[in-house]
């Protein structure tokens, strides 16, 4: 009787070999990729940690006030003060820096790819399964190769975060470009627009609200990776949670989780208000 008892394709062996081969021969290349991420990450986190907490709180309050209103500003101020009183100020600043760096690189990579996919069906078809894989592959699967290639620490954590947080931005950028009415593109062409003029004067401005929604998603997903990143030695708010889990310190883990939630709400509301504000402008 036929059965699948025997393994026919030793894919696991191949993958192990490929990773080993990459680690042995091309580690220098991956260290090179790491460098710009490291540069921005340490710059931002050093900057945030060196700044007086009061100034940082005031700055966030001001941003919240500006993009949304008094309500969000008060919520932001209270939440940040609470985080400080809970004793997680420096962890919060490191997490903030990690989220910021991953969002910067997600934007640098994601928006151009999104635009490319938005303008070409072929690119879109190639990218889609890749994005699906990036979004659904359990993070634990790629944590080990990431550690092998990039070693442990905050930077490796950011790189793992980028893999997970990139897809929504690419998808929503592509969607935004595709949603632009074909008649508008046609009108631009009829008046003698070149391909890049169509992109810069019609497609990107009209896709901007959708791209901003993608950015918001990317920020949220970056935050949700904080704990997993802490498992490969990244600092920040994930660290107390992981420590709390390992030592069965329920209180520590919960308070760390609370700080993450507060930070997530602040960042979400601020970026969402920015997106809808943009929306109102173009309507």
């Amino acid at each position: 009787m036929f059965s699948f008892d025997e393994r026919v394709i030793p894919l696991d062996v191949w993958i192990t070999n490929i990773v080993n081969w990459l680690v042995e021969g091309y580690r220098w290349f991956f260290q090179l990729i790491k460098w710009p991420v490291d540069f921005i990450l340490s710059g931002v986190s050093d900057g945030l940690l060196a700044t007086s907490p009061l100034l940082v709180i005031a700055l966030f309050g001001a941003i919240a006030w500006r993009v949304s209103g008094l309500k969000l500003a008060i919520f932001t101020l209270l939440s940040l003060v609470l985080i400080g009183l809970l004793g997680f100020w420096s962890e919060t600043m490191i997490t903030l820096a990690m989220v910021f760096s991953s969002v910067v690189f997600c934007t640098l990579v994601g928006v151009p790819f999104g635009i490319w996919a938005g303008r070409s069906d072929r690119v879109n078809n190639v990218l889609r399964p890749i994005l699906d894989a990036m979004q659904t592959t359990p993070a634990f699967v790629y944590l080990v190769p990431i550690v092998m290639l990039f070693s442990i620490g905050n930077t490796a954590g950011v790189l793992a975060t980028i893999i997970f947080a990139l897809p929504p931005l690419v998808r929503l950028t592509s969607l935004g470009i595709r949603q632009v009415h074909p008649e508008l593109v046609e009108a631009a062409l009829a008046f003698g627009a070149t391909s890049s003029q169509v992109l810069l004067k019609v497609q990107i401005p009209l896709a901007l609200p959708t791209i901003m929604a993608g950015l918001n998603q990317t920020i949220m997903m970056s935050l949700s990776m904080v704990v997993i990143a802490a498992m490969i030695g990244a600092g920040g708010l994930g660290a107390p949670v992981v420590l709390g889990l390992n030592t069965l310190d329920i209180g520590l883990a919960t308070v760390g989780g609370l700080a993450i939630v507060l930070l997530a709400i602040i960042l979400d509301r601020i970026t969402q208000s920015m997106a809808t504000k943009k929306n109102k402008d173009v309507k």
Partner: protein, 408 residues
């Protein structure tokens, strides 16, 4: 002088369009080709020329290929084969850069859906073509402002398109087309999305603009009245073919085939033509029923305009009633200045639906002194049908019958 000449133009959509052209040349029909190969023939063997400074209307029902045809004149759609000569130059031989330059300098286009940029102000929209051409901001805004003035949109420069009504939006579309000062204006069903009142107004506007500055206009339409009203010459398309080209009179008096004839007459015109088809809003006097609208003011207006009747609408364009100068005078006399407009309404003034046929409305038109108001299903005012208009329509339909008999 010939401005645009198209010769034997074909457009076939599908994987191997050239094969479609070959099959057409072998005498296969559009339908046979679709069944055999899956290719869609949009335009087949179209040839005509447009003279400098004329309004050339391409008319046909939806699916006749007219929208595809106009897009081949600036290569928004790439022709499968044939020639498009503009000022003697075949635009199909142009490379990318030449084509961009051609589109920026020689042509502009007005779209059925307006296709205004929602993120730009009216002024920025009007300046769009000039901006693409790299003109500096001050200069292009000056020219855009001038174009907006030409279409009667002064003072709205800072508005966004979604704040304007359909008619105004299309004025912006027209201003955008005029701002680049093109030789050729391509208008793809430019007024078809507008309601009849505004449509006529825009047609007048176009004719006025044409009086001031003659351009070569290629106007696409499915509306016979529009074609007759604005066209210097008309081309009629059916199933992707141009079946007749001529002045409105030529086509009226000598329709090339049954299809063309069908445009100009129904089997029984009074049963086919509806009140909405012939209703006109240009002739009657319309007054708005507002708090300020008094019988005295309306009477004054009628005497200034030398009219006998006025039609009263509310702010939503809904038809309320008809007043005559006599009924107004009575209301003024009886009411001692306190009377309202509705006191002057003629009691037997009824409106008809725009879908009613001429047969249905004949008794009303014949028995009343005033032109009969026509409303749509939401009781919004669409125009009126006067005795005169009614008879002229019958006469035109009659002529069609006459020529059909003489042709057979």
């Amino acid at each position: 002088m010939e401005k645009i000449v198209i010769k034997n133009l074909y457009k076939v959509f599908g994987a191997e369009p050239r094969k479609g052209v070959k099959l057409l040349e072998q005498g296969k029909s559009k339908e046979e080709i679709y069944e055999q190969t899956g290719l869609t023939v949009a335009v087949q063997g179209a040839s005509f020329s447009v003279n400098k400074g004329e309004i050339f209307v391409v008319m046909g029902l939806s699916g006749s290929g007219k929208s595809t045809l106009v897009r081949m004149l600036n290569r928004l759609i790439e022709p499968t084969s044939g020639e498009v000569l503009v000022d003697g130059q075949n635009i199909l031989n142009m490379n990318k850069d030449e084509l961009v330059r051609f589109r920026r300098s020689k042509t502009s286009m007005v779209f059925q859906s307006f296709a205004l940029m929602p993120h730009q102000t009216v002024l920025e929209n009007a300046a769009f073509g000039l901006e693409l051409d790299g003109m500096d901001k001050k200069q292009r805004e000056e020219r855009a402002l001038d174009a907006l003035k030409q279409v009667g949109l002064e003072g709205l420069e800072k508005a966004y398109p979604n704040e304007l009504s359909g008619g105004m939006q299309q004025r912006v579309g027209l201003a955008r087309g005029l701002a680049v000062d093109p030789d050729i204006l391509l208008m793809d069903e430019a007024f078809s999305a507008l309601d009849p009142l505004i449509k006529t107004e825009m047609q007048d506007e176009l004719l006025k603009l044409q009086d001031r500055h003659e351009r070569t206009i290629n106007f696409i339409s499915h509306d016979l009245d529009e074609a007759l009203r604005i066209g210097d010459r008309i081309a009629i398309m059916q199933g992707g073919r141009v079946i007749q080209v001529g002045t409105p009179e030529e086509i009226l008096q000598n329709p090339a085939d049954d299809y063309v004839r069908a445009f100009f007459r129904g089997v029984d015109p009074t049963g086919v033509i509806s009140a909405g088809d012939i209703a006109r809003d240009s002739q009657p006097t319309v007054v708005w029923h507002t708090k300020a609208g008094s019988p005295r003011a309306t009477l004054e207006m009628l005497s200034i305009k030398d009219r006998e009747f006025a039609y009263v609408l509310d702010s939503e364009h809904r038809f309320l009633g008809v007043v005559s100068s006599d009924s107004l005078r009575d209301a003024v006399d009886q009411g001692n200045g306190a009377s309202k407009l509705e006191h002057a309404f003629l009691t037997d003034a009824k409106s008809v639906q725009e879908t009613d046929s001429l047969q249905d409305i004949l008794p009303l038109v014949a028995s009343h002194a005033w032109p009969i108001p026509v409303v749509n299903s939401e009781s919004r005012y669409r125009g009126v049908v006067s005795k005169n208009l009614f008879l002229r329509t019958l006469n035109r339909a009659e002529k069609g019958t006459y020529f059909e008999q003489s042709a057979s």
